[in-house]
Protein backbone atom coordinates (compact mmCIF):
# COMPACT_ATOMS: atom_id res chain seq x y z
CA UNK A 1 0.00 0.00 0.00
CA UNK A 2 1.14 3.54 -0.72
CA UNK A 3 2.27 5.25 -3.86
CA UNK A 4 5.91 4.25 -3.38
CA UNK A 5 7.63 0.87 -3.11
CA UNK A 6 9.01 -0.24 0.25
CA UNK A 7 12.52 0.34 -1.07
CA UNK A 8 11.74 3.94 -1.95
CA UNK A 9 10.25 4.53 1.48
CA UNK A 10 13.28 2.94 3.13
CA UNK A 11 15.60 5.35 1.34
CA UNK A 12 13.27 8.24 2.04
CA UNK A 13 13.12 7.44 5.73
CA UNK A 14 16.84 6.89 6.10
CA UNK A 15 18.60 8.45 3.18
CA UNK A 16 22.20 7.32 2.69
CA UNK A 17 25.13 9.63 2.14
CA UNK A 18 23.42 12.90 2.82
CA UNK A 19 25.69 15.88 2.83
CA UNK A 20 28.30 17.77 0.91
CA UNK A 21 31.89 16.82 0.16
CA UNK A 22 33.90 19.91 0.95
CA UNK A 23 36.80 19.08 -1.38
CA UNK A 24 34.71 17.26 -3.97
CA UNK A 25 36.35 16.35 -7.27
CA UNK A 26 33.08 16.89 -9.10
CA UNK A 27 29.71 18.44 -8.39
CA UNK A 28 26.60 17.96 -10.48
CA UNK A 29 23.38 19.91 -10.12
CA UNK A 30 20.14 19.03 -11.89
CA UNK A 31 16.53 19.95 -11.56
CA UNK A 32 14.41 23.00 -11.66
CA UNK A 33 12.82 24.96 -8.85
CA UNK A 34 9.72 25.47 -10.99
CA UNK A 35 9.30 21.73 -10.93
CA UNK A 36 10.20 21.59 -7.28
CA UNK A 37 13.28 19.38 -7.64
CA UNK A 38 16.92 20.31 -7.25
CA UNK A 39 19.63 17.68 -6.68
CA UNK A 40 23.26 18.28 -5.95
CA UNK A 41 25.58 15.28 -6.29
CA UNK A 42 29.15 15.42 -4.95
CA UNK A 43 31.83 12.89 -5.91
CA UNK A 44 35.34 12.09 -4.75
CA UNK A 45 37.43 10.23 -7.32
CA UNK A 46 40.64 8.29 -6.86
CA UNK A 47 42.47 6.30 -9.55
CA UNK A 48 39.48 6.61 -11.85
CA UNK A 49 37.18 5.17 -9.20
CA UNK A 50 34.43 6.93 -7.28
CA UNK A 51 35.44 6.53 -3.67
CA UNK A 52 32.83 8.78 -2.12
CA UNK A 53 29.50 10.24 -3.19
CA UNK A 54 27.13 12.48 -1.28
CA UNK A 55 23.96 14.42 -2.09
CA UNK A 56 21.71 17.24 -1.07
CA UNK A 57 18.22 17.34 -2.52
CA UNK A 58 15.31 19.74 -2.49
CA UNK A 59 12.45 17.66 -3.75
CA UNK A 60 9.81 15.02 -3.32
CA UNK A 61 10.10 11.53 -1.95
CA UNK A 62 11.20 10.10 -5.28
CA UNK A 63 13.85 12.77 -5.70
CA UNK A 64 15.27 12.05 -2.27
CA UNK A 65 15.16 8.26 -2.65
CA UNK A 66 16.75 8.26 -6.10
CA UNK A 67 19.49 10.58 -4.85
CA UNK A 68 20.15 8.30 -1.92
CA UNK A 69 20.08 5.20 -4.09
CA UNK A 70 22.56 6.46 -6.66
CA UNK A 71 25.11 7.40 -4.04
CA UNK A 72 25.03 3.75 -2.96
CA UNK A 73 25.16 2.41 -6.49
CA UNK A 74 28.27 4.30 -7.61
CA UNK A 75 30.58 3.85 -4.68
CA UNK A 76 33.62 1.93 -5.80
CA UNK A 77 32.62 2.03 -9.47
CA UNK A 78 34.91 3.28 -12.21
CA UNK A 79 33.75 6.56 -13.69
CA UNK A 80 32.99 5.04 -17.10
CA UNK A 81 30.94 2.35 -15.49
CA UNK A 82 29.21 4.95 -13.32
CA UNK A 83 28.32 6.96 -16.41
CA UNK A 84 26.36 3.97 -17.73
CA UNK A 85 23.90 4.08 -14.84
CA UNK A 86 20.62 5.36 -16.24
CA UNK A 87 17.75 7.03 -14.45
CA UNK A 88 15.77 3.93 -15.34
CA UNK A 89 18.30 1.69 -13.62
CA UNK A 90 18.03 3.78 -10.47
CA UNK A 91 14.26 3.50 -10.54
CA UNK A 92 14.54 -0.24 -11.02
CA UNK A 93 16.95 -0.59 -8.14
CA UNK A 94 14.27 1.08 -6.03
CA UNK A 95 11.67 -1.45 -7.06
CA UNK A 96 10.06 0.97 -9.51
CA UNK A 97 8.57 4.43 -9.28
CA UNK A 98 5.02 5.60 -9.89
CA UNK A 99 4.58 6.39 -13.62
CA UNK A 100 4.10 10.10 -12.95
CA UNK A 101 7.47 10.23 -11.19
CA UNK A 102 9.42 8.50 -13.94
CA UNK A 103 10.06 11.67 -15.88
CA UNK A 104 10.11 14.42 -13.29
CA UNK A 105 11.85 13.35 -10.11
CA UNK A 106 14.02 10.63 -11.51
CA UNK A 107 17.09 12.70 -12.30
CA UNK A 108 19.77 11.34 -10.00
CA UNK A 109 21.70 9.60 -12.80
CA UNK A 110 21.74 12.87 -14.71
CA UNK A 111 23.10 14.57 -11.61
CA UNK A 112 25.83 11.96 -11.33
CA UNK A 113 26.75 12.36 -15.01
CA UNK A 114 27.06 16.07 -14.48
CA UNK A 115 29.29 15.51 -11.47
CA UNK A 116 31.53 13.19 -13.51
CA UNK A 117 31.62 15.71 -16.34
CA UNK A 118 32.57 18.38 -13.85
CA UNK A 119 35.34 16.11 -12.56
CA UNK A 120 36.61 15.52 -16.12
CA UNK A 121 36.63 19.24 -16.87
CA UNK A 122 38.50 19.96 -13.67
CA UNK A 123 41.08 17.18 -14.28
CA UNK A 124 41.76 18.57 -17.78
CA UNK A 125 42.56 21.96 -16.31
CA UNK A 126 45.00 20.51 -13.82
Amino acid sequence: MGMYSDKVMEHFKNPHNVGEIKDADGIGEVGNPICGDIMKIYIKVKDGKIIDCKFKTFGCGAAIATSSMITEMVKGKGIDEALKISNKAVAEALGGLPPIKMHCSNLAADGLSKAIEDYKQKSKKK
Partner: protein, 392 residues
Protein backbone atom coordinates in the same frame (compact mmCIF):
# COMPACT_ATOMS: atom_id res chain seq x y z
CA UNK B 1 -0.15 4.08 15.50
CA UNK B 2 -2.98 6.53 15.88
CA UNK B 3 -3.96 8.11 12.60
CA UNK B 4 -4.79 11.80 12.58
CA UNK B 5 -6.79 13.15 9.67
CA UNK B 6 -6.14 16.81 8.83
CA UNK B 7 -7.12 16.80 5.18
CA UNK B 8 -10.80 17.70 5.47
CA UNK B 9 -10.64 20.08 2.53
CA UNK B 10 -9.79 17.10 0.31
CA UNK B 11 -12.62 14.97 1.63
CA UNK B 12 -14.39 14.21 4.88
CA UNK B 13 -15.49 10.89 6.28
CA UNK B 14 -19.13 10.15 5.70
CA UNK B 15 -20.90 10.72 9.00
CA UNK B 16 -22.14 7.46 10.51
CA UNK B 17 -25.60 9.02 10.84
CA UNK B 18 -25.50 9.81 7.13
CA UNK B 19 -24.60 6.23 6.30
CA UNK B 20 -27.45 5.03 8.50
CA UNK B 21 -29.88 7.29 6.67
CA UNK B 22 -28.67 6.00 3.29
CA UNK B 23 -28.77 2.32 4.12
CA UNK B 24 -32.47 1.55 3.52
CA UNK B 25 -32.17 2.96 -0.01
CA UNK B 26 -29.75 0.34 -1.27
CA UNK B 27 -31.40 -3.02 -0.86
CA UNK B 28 -34.78 -2.27 0.66
CA UNK B 29 -36.35 0.87 -0.76
CA UNK B 30 -34.54 0.55 -4.03
CA UNK B 31 -37.20 1.76 -6.45
CA UNK B 32 -36.53 4.21 -9.26
CA UNK B 33 -38.12 7.51 -8.16
CA UNK B 34 -39.63 7.87 -11.63
CA UNK B 35 -41.64 4.69 -11.27
CA UNK B 36 -45.31 4.83 -10.46
CA UNK B 37 -45.39 1.79 -8.19
CA UNK B 38 -44.86 1.87 -4.45
CA UNK B 39 -41.13 1.08 -4.70
CA UNK B 40 -40.74 4.13 -6.91
CA UNK B 41 -42.92 6.37 -4.79
CA UNK B 42 -41.07 5.71 -1.55
CA UNK B 43 -37.82 6.60 -3.31
CA UNK B 44 -39.40 9.74 -4.73
CA UNK B 45 -40.44 10.87 -1.28
CA UNK B 46 -36.96 10.37 0.09
CA UNK B 47 -35.45 12.41 -2.74
CA UNK B 48 -37.86 15.29 -2.20
CA UNK B 49 -37.30 15.26 1.53
CA UNK B 50 -33.55 15.55 0.95
CA UNK B 51 -34.14 18.40 -1.46
CA UNK B 52 -35.97 20.29 1.25
CA UNK B 53 -33.11 19.83 3.68
CA UNK B 54 -30.52 21.07 1.21
CA UNK B 55 -32.67 24.05 0.32
CA UNK B 56 -33.18 24.89 3.96
CA UNK B 57 -29.45 24.89 4.69
CA UNK B 58 -28.83 27.64 2.14
CA UNK B 59 -32.11 29.55 2.33
CA UNK B 60 -33.35 28.41 -1.07
CA UNK B 61 -36.60 27.04 -2.38
CA UNK B 62 -36.54 23.23 -2.85
CA UNK B 63 -37.51 23.63 -6.51
CA UNK B 64 -34.28 25.57 -7.02
CA UNK B 65 -32.07 22.62 -6.05
CA UNK B 66 -30.75 20.35 -8.82
CA UNK B 67 -28.87 17.25 -7.71
CA UNK B 68 -25.60 16.47 -9.46
CA UNK B 69 -22.80 13.94 -9.10
CA UNK B 70 -20.66 16.39 -7.14
CA UNK B 71 -19.11 19.82 -7.03
CA UNK B 72 -17.25 19.47 -10.29
CA UNK B 73 -20.39 18.62 -12.24
CA UNK B 74 -22.26 21.49 -10.57
CA UNK B 75 -19.51 23.93 -11.60
CA UNK B 76 -19.41 22.58 -15.16
CA UNK B 77 -23.18 22.74 -15.43
CA UNK B 78 -23.43 26.31 -14.14
CA UNK B 79 -20.66 27.68 -16.31
CA UNK B 80 -21.19 25.81 -19.57
CA UNK B 81 -24.95 25.84 -19.18
CA UNK B 82 -25.14 29.61 -18.74
CA UNK B 83 -22.68 30.16 -21.59
CA UNK B 84 -24.63 28.01 -24.04
CA UNK B 85 -27.99 29.43 -23.04
CA UNK B 86 -26.99 33.07 -23.21
CA UNK B 87 -24.54 33.24 -26.09
CA UNK B 88 -26.90 35.42 -28.07
CA UNK B 89 -26.58 38.00 -25.35
CA UNK B 90 -22.81 37.85 -25.04
CA UNK B 91 -19.71 35.70 -24.98
CA UNK B 92 -17.79 37.08 -22.02
CA UNK B 93 -17.24 35.37 -18.67
CA UNK B 94 -15.43 36.69 -15.61
CA UNK B 95 -13.71 34.49 -13.06
CA UNK B 96 -10.58 34.63 -10.93
CA UNK B 97 -7.08 33.21 -11.08
CA UNK B 98 -7.56 31.16 -7.92
CA UNK B 99 -10.60 29.11 -8.86
CA UNK B 100 -10.73 25.35 -8.56
CA UNK B 101 -9.83 23.47 -11.75
CA UNK B 102 -13.50 22.52 -12.09
CA UNK B 103 -14.14 26.20 -12.83
CA UNK B 104 -10.91 27.06 -14.63
CA UNK B 105 -11.01 24.11 -16.98
CA UNK B 106 -14.69 24.67 -17.73
CA UNK B 107 -13.78 28.22 -18.71
CA UNK B 108 -10.91 27.00 -20.84
CA UNK B 109 -13.26 24.58 -22.61
CA UNK B 110 -15.52 27.52 -23.41
CA UNK B 111 -12.59 29.58 -24.67
CA UNK B 112 -12.01 26.84 -27.24
CA UNK B 113 -15.66 27.17 -28.21
CA UNK B 114 -15.18 30.89 -28.85
CA UNK B 115 -16.06 32.44 -25.50
CA UNK B 116 -13.82 35.08 -23.91
CA UNK B 117 -12.79 34.75 -20.27
CA UNK B 118 -11.27 37.30 -17.89
CA UNK B 119 -9.25 35.81 -15.05
CA UNK B 120 -9.13 38.38 -12.25
CA UNK B 121 -6.03 38.72 -10.07
CA UNK B 122 -6.10 38.50 -6.29
CA UNK B 123 -4.14 40.27 -3.59
CA UNK B 124 -1.51 38.62 -1.39
CA UNK B 125 -4.24 37.14 0.82
CA UNK B 126 -6.09 35.73 -2.14
CA UNK B 127 -8.87 38.33 -1.99
CA UNK B 128 -10.69 39.48 -5.11
CA UNK B 129 -11.44 43.18 -5.34
CA UNK B 130 -15.11 43.91 -6.21
CA UNK B 131 -13.82 46.99 -8.04
CA UNK B 132 -11.88 44.69 -10.38
CA UNK B 133 -15.05 42.76 -11.10
CA UNK B 134 -16.87 45.99 -11.88
CA UNK B 135 -14.14 47.14 -14.25
CA UNK B 136 -14.09 43.80 -16.05
CA UNK B 137 -17.81 43.76 -16.82
CA UNK B 138 -18.69 44.70 -20.39
CA UNK B 139 -21.98 44.63 -22.27
CA UNK B 140 -20.95 41.19 -23.53
CA UNK B 141 -20.56 39.73 -20.03
CA UNK B 142 -23.05 36.95 -19.31
CA UNK B 143 -21.59 35.31 -16.21
CA UNK B 144 -19.39 36.02 -13.23
CA UNK B 145 -18.19 32.90 -11.41
CA UNK B 146 -16.19 33.32 -8.22
CA UNK B 147 -15.45 30.87 -5.46
CA UNK B 148 -16.98 31.44 -2.05
CA UNK B 149 -13.84 30.29 -0.25
CA UNK B 150 -10.60 28.98 -1.59
CA UNK B 151 -9.92 25.28 -1.14
CA UNK B 152 -6.20 25.71 -0.61
CA UNK B 153 -5.55 28.86 1.38
CA UNK B 154 -9.04 29.11 2.90
CA UNK B 155 -9.64 32.76 2.06
CA UNK B 156 -13.32 33.73 2.07
CA UNK B 157 -14.18 36.10 -0.77
CA UNK B 158 -16.38 39.22 -0.40
CA UNK B 159 -19.32 37.63 -2.23
CA UNK B 160 -21.96 40.12 -1.07
CA UNK B 161 -19.90 43.05 -2.30
CA UNK B 162 -19.16 41.34 -5.60
CA UNK B 163 -22.83 40.46 -5.97
CA UNK B 164 -23.76 44.14 -5.78
CA UNK B 165 -21.70 45.08 -8.81
CA UNK B 166 -22.67 41.94 -10.74
CA UNK B 167 -26.39 42.30 -10.10
CA UNK B 168 -26.28 46.00 -10.95
CA UNK B 169 -24.93 45.01 -14.36
CA UNK B 170 -27.70 42.44 -14.80
CA UNK B 171 -25.25 39.57 -15.13
CA UNK B 172 -25.63 36.02 -13.80
CA UNK B 173 -23.59 35.30 -10.68
CA UNK B 174 -22.38 31.81 -9.78
CA UNK B 175 -20.36 30.91 -6.72
CA UNK B 176 -18.43 27.71 -6.08
CA UNK B 177 -19.39 27.02 -2.46
CA UNK B 178 -17.92 23.54 -2.31
CA UNK B 179 -15.67 24.56 0.58
CA UNK B 180 -18.23 26.62 2.49
CA UNK B 181 -21.55 24.75 2.43
CA UNK B 182 -22.02 23.15 5.81
CA UNK B 183 -19.03 25.01 7.27
CA UNK B 184 -20.21 28.60 7.49
CA UNK B 185 -23.77 29.97 7.44
CA UNK B 186 -25.05 30.61 3.91
CA UNK B 187 -28.15 32.33 2.59
CA UNK B 188 -28.38 32.61 -1.18
CA UNK B 189 -30.62 35.65 -1.00
CA UNK B 190 -28.44 37.45 1.48
CA UNK B 191 -25.38 36.66 -0.64
CA UNK B 192 -27.26 37.64 -3.79
CA UNK B 193 -26.22 34.77 -6.03
CA UNK B 194 -28.03 33.05 -8.89
CA UNK B 195 -26.19 29.77 -8.71
CA UNK B 196 -24.20 27.95 -6.05
CA UNK B 197 -22.29 24.66 -6.26
CA UNK B 198 -21.91 22.23 -3.39
CA UNK B 199 -20.45 18.77 -2.89
CA UNK B 200 -21.52 16.15 -0.35
CA UNK B 201 -18.13 14.71 0.52
CA UNK B 202 -16.84 18.07 1.74
CA UNK B 203 -19.27 18.24 4.64
CA UNK B 204 -19.57 14.66 5.90
CA UNK B 205 -21.93 13.52 3.15
CA UNK B 206 -21.16 10.80 0.64
CA UNK B 207 -18.87 11.15 -2.38
CA UNK B 208 -20.36 11.34 -5.85
CA UNK B 209 -23.29 13.57 -5.00
CA UNK B 210 -23.70 17.32 -4.94
CA UNK B 211 -26.12 19.97 -5.99
CA UNK B 212 -26.46 23.16 -7.93
CA UNK B 213 -28.67 25.87 -6.53
CA UNK B 214 -30.34 27.41 -9.55
CA UNK B 215 -32.34 30.54 -8.91
CA UNK B 216 -35.83 30.41 -10.40
CA UNK B 217 -35.89 31.90 -13.87
CA UNK B 218 -32.21 31.34 -14.64
CA UNK B 219 -31.68 30.61 -18.33
CA UNK B 220 -29.51 27.54 -18.56
CA UNK B 221 -28.84 24.69 -20.96
CA UNK B 222 -28.31 21.17 -19.61
CA UNK B 223 -24.90 19.62 -19.27
CA UNK B 224 -26.26 16.09 -19.08
CA UNK B 225 -29.16 15.34 -21.41
CA UNK B 226 -31.55 12.42 -21.25
CA UNK B 227 -34.61 11.59 -19.19
CA UNK B 228 -36.91 14.13 -17.56
CA UNK B 229 -35.38 13.83 -14.07
CA UNK B 230 -34.81 16.92 -11.90
CA UNK B 231 -37.55 18.76 -13.81
CA UNK B 232 -35.68 18.29 -17.08
CA UNK B 233 -32.58 19.97 -15.73
CA UNK B 234 -30.32 16.99 -15.04
CA UNK B 235 -30.89 13.61 -16.61
CA UNK B 236 -29.99 10.21 -15.19
CA UNK B 237 -31.65 7.92 -12.69
CA UNK B 238 -31.39 9.65 -9.34
CA UNK B 239 -28.68 8.49 -6.95
CA UNK B 240 -31.32 7.94 -4.29
CA UNK B 241 -29.10 6.76 -1.44
CA UNK B 242 -26.54 9.45 -2.24
CA UNK B 243 -29.18 12.15 -2.32
CA UNK B 244 -30.64 10.95 0.96
CA UNK B 245 -27.12 11.07 2.40
CA UNK B 246 -26.60 14.59 1.11
CA UNK B 247 -29.88 15.64 2.72
CA UNK B 248 -28.91 14.10 6.05
CA UNK B 249 -25.48 15.75 5.88
CA UNK B 250 -27.21 19.10 5.30
CA UNK B 251 -29.48 18.54 8.27
CA UNK B 252 -26.57 17.68 10.54
CA UNK B 253 -24.51 20.62 9.27
CA UNK B 254 -27.38 22.98 9.97
CA UNK B 255 -27.59 21.63 13.50
CA UNK B 256 -23.87 22.20 14.05
CA UNK B 257 -24.00 25.71 12.61
CA UNK B 258 -27.00 26.61 14.75
CA UNK B 259 -25.06 25.47 17.79
CA UNK B 260 -21.98 27.45 16.73
CA UNK B 261 -19.86 24.30 16.62
CA UNK B 262 -17.48 25.79 14.08
CA UNK B 263 -16.09 28.03 16.81
CA UNK B 264 -14.27 25.09 18.35
CA UNK B 265 -12.63 24.41 15.00
CA UNK B 266 -11.57 28.04 14.66
CA UNK B 267 -9.98 27.90 18.08
CA UNK B 268 -8.03 24.74 17.30
CA UNK B 269 -6.98 26.16 13.94
CA UNK B 270 -5.65 29.31 15.55
CA UNK B 271 -3.78 27.27 18.13
CA UNK B 272 -2.25 25.19 15.37
CA UNK B 273 -1.22 28.25 13.39
CA UNK B 274 0.32 29.95 16.41
CA UNK B 275 2.11 26.78 17.53
CA UNK B 276 3.72 26.25 14.16
CA UNK B 277 4.67 29.88 13.50
CA UNK B 278 6.14 30.14 16.99
CA UNK B 279 8.21 26.98 16.82
CA UNK B 280 9.51 26.95 13.25
CA UNK B 281 11.67 29.43 11.36
CA UNK B 282 11.29 30.55 7.77
CA UNK B 283 7.60 29.73 7.63
CA UNK B 284 4.72 31.88 6.51
CA UNK B 285 0.95 31.56 6.79
CA UNK B 286 -0.88 31.62 3.46
CA UNK B 287 -4.33 33.14 3.11
CA UNK B 288 -6.07 35.81 5.10
CA UNK B 289 -5.48 35.89 8.88
CA UNK B 290 -9.18 36.17 9.74
CA UNK B 291 -11.29 35.96 6.56
CA UNK B 292 -10.62 32.26 6.29
CA UNK B 293 -12.41 28.93 6.53
CA UNK B 294 -12.78 27.65 10.09
CA UNK B 295 -10.66 24.57 9.47
CA UNK B 296 -7.97 25.84 7.13
CA UNK B 297 -4.31 26.31 8.02
CA UNK B 298 -1.85 26.69 5.15
CA UNK B 299 1.87 27.35 5.42
CA UNK B 300 4.97 27.57 3.31
CA UNK B 301 8.15 26.16 4.80
CA UNK B 302 11.12 27.47 2.89
CA UNK B 303 13.91 25.26 1.46
CA UNK B 304 11.91 22.05 1.41
CA UNK B 305 9.31 20.51 -0.81
CA UNK B 306 5.71 19.68 0.06
CA UNK B 307 5.45 16.05 -0.85
CA UNK B 308 8.40 15.13 1.33
CA UNK B 309 6.59 16.78 4.24
CA UNK B 310 3.44 14.80 3.52
CA UNK B 311 5.33 11.52 3.42
CA UNK B 312 7.09 12.33 6.66
CA UNK B 313 3.85 13.35 8.34
CA UNK B 314 2.12 10.24 7.02
CA UNK B 315 4.86 8.12 8.58
CA UNK B 316 3.88 9.74 11.87
CA UNK B 317 0.20 9.05 11.24
CA UNK B 318 -0.82 12.54 10.12
CA UNK B 319 -2.74 13.03 6.87
CA UNK B 320 -2.23 16.44 5.23
CA UNK B 321 -1.88 17.95 1.78
CA UNK B 322 0.29 20.34 -0.20
CA UNK B 323 0.20 22.58 -3.24
CA UNK B 324 3.48 21.25 -4.55
CA UNK B 325 3.63 20.04 -8.14
CA UNK B 326 4.42 16.53 -7.03
CA UNK B 327 1.16 16.15 -5.20
CA UNK B 328 -1.09 17.33 -7.97
CA UNK B 329 0.19 15.34 -10.89
CA UNK B 330 1.10 18.54 -12.70
CA UNK B 331 4.52 20.01 -13.29
CA UNK B 332 4.01 23.38 -11.69
CA UNK B 333 3.18 24.44 -8.18
CA UNK B 334 -0.38 25.33 -7.25
CA UNK B 335 -1.79 28.12 -9.43
CA UNK B 336 -3.37 29.50 -6.27
CA UNK B 337 -0.09 29.97 -4.40
CA UNK B 338 1.47 31.49 -7.50
CA UNK B 339 -1.51 33.84 -7.87
CA UNK B 340 -0.99 35.25 -4.37
CA UNK B 341 2.54 36.13 -5.43
CA UNK B 342 4.68 33.31 -4.06
CA UNK B 343 7.75 32.33 -6.08
CA UNK B 344 7.52 28.71 -7.32
CA UNK B 345 10.26 27.37 -5.07
CA UNK B 346 8.37 28.62 -2.04
CA UNK B 347 5.01 27.48 -3.33
CA UNK B 348 6.44 23.96 -3.59
CA UNK B 349 7.03 24.03 0.14
CA UNK B 350 3.41 24.44 1.11
CA UNK B 351 1.58 22.39 3.68
CA UNK B 352 -2.17 22.43 4.15
CA UNK B 353 -3.70 21.16 7.38
CA UNK B 354 -7.49 21.27 7.30
CA UNK B 355 -9.37 20.49 10.48
CA UNK B 356 -12.74 18.85 10.84
CA UNK B 357 -15.42 18.51 13.45
CA UNK B 358 -13.77 15.54 15.15
CA UNK B 359 -10.19 16.79 15.49
CA UNK B 360 -9.11 17.18 19.11
CA UNK B 361 -6.86 19.43 21.12
CA UNK B 362 -4.49 16.47 21.62
CA UNK B 363 -4.18 16.01 17.89
CA UNK B 364 -3.25 19.67 17.48
CA UNK B 365 -0.65 19.34 20.24
CA UNK B 366 0.76 16.24 18.59
CA UNK B 367 1.21 17.96 15.24
CA UNK B 368 2.79 21.03 16.82
CA UNK B 369 5.05 18.62 18.62
CA UNK B 370 6.31 16.53 15.72
CA UNK B 371 6.35 19.02 12.87
CA UNK B 372 9.53 20.94 13.89
CA UNK B 373 11.55 17.71 13.83
CA UNK B 374 10.24 16.78 10.40
CA UNK B 375 11.03 20.19 8.97
CA UNK B 376 14.48 20.11 10.49
CA UNK B 377 15.25 16.70 9.08
CA UNK B 378 14.13 17.67 5.58
CA UNK B 379 16.01 20.93 5.70
CA UNK B 380 19.15 18.97 6.54
CA UNK B 381 18.72 17.23 3.16
CA UNK B 382 18.22 20.49 1.32
CA UNK B 383 20.96 22.22 -0.67
CA UNK B 384 19.53 25.54 0.52
CA UNK B 385 20.53 26.73 3.97
CA UNK B 386 18.55 29.60 5.42
CA UNK B 387 18.48 31.38 2.07
CA UNK B 388 17.82 30.59 -1.58
CA UNK B 389 21.36 31.38 -2.64
CA UNK B 390 22.56 29.43 -5.62
CA UNK B 391 19.06 29.20 -7.02
CA UNK B 392 19.23 30.17 -10.63
Amino acid sequence: MKRIYMDHAATTSTDVEVVKAMEPYFSLKYGNPNSIHSFGQEAREAVEEAREKIAHLIGANPSEIVFTAGGTEADNYAIKGIAWANQKKGNHIITSKIEHHAVLHSCQFLEKQGFRVTYLPVDKYGLIDPEDVKKAITDKTILVTIMHANNEIGTIEPIKEISKVVKKAGVYFHIDSVQTVGHIPIDVNDLGVDMLSMSGHKFYGPNGVGALYLRKGTRIVNLIDGGAQEKNRRAGTENVAGIVGLGKAAELAEERLTQGKEKKIVRLRDKLIKGIIDKIENVRLNGHPTKRLPGNANFCFEFIEGESMLLSLDMEGVAASSGSACTSGSLTASHILLAIGLPPEIAHGSLRLTLGKDNTEEEIDYVIDILPGIIEKLRALSPFKGNWEGLN
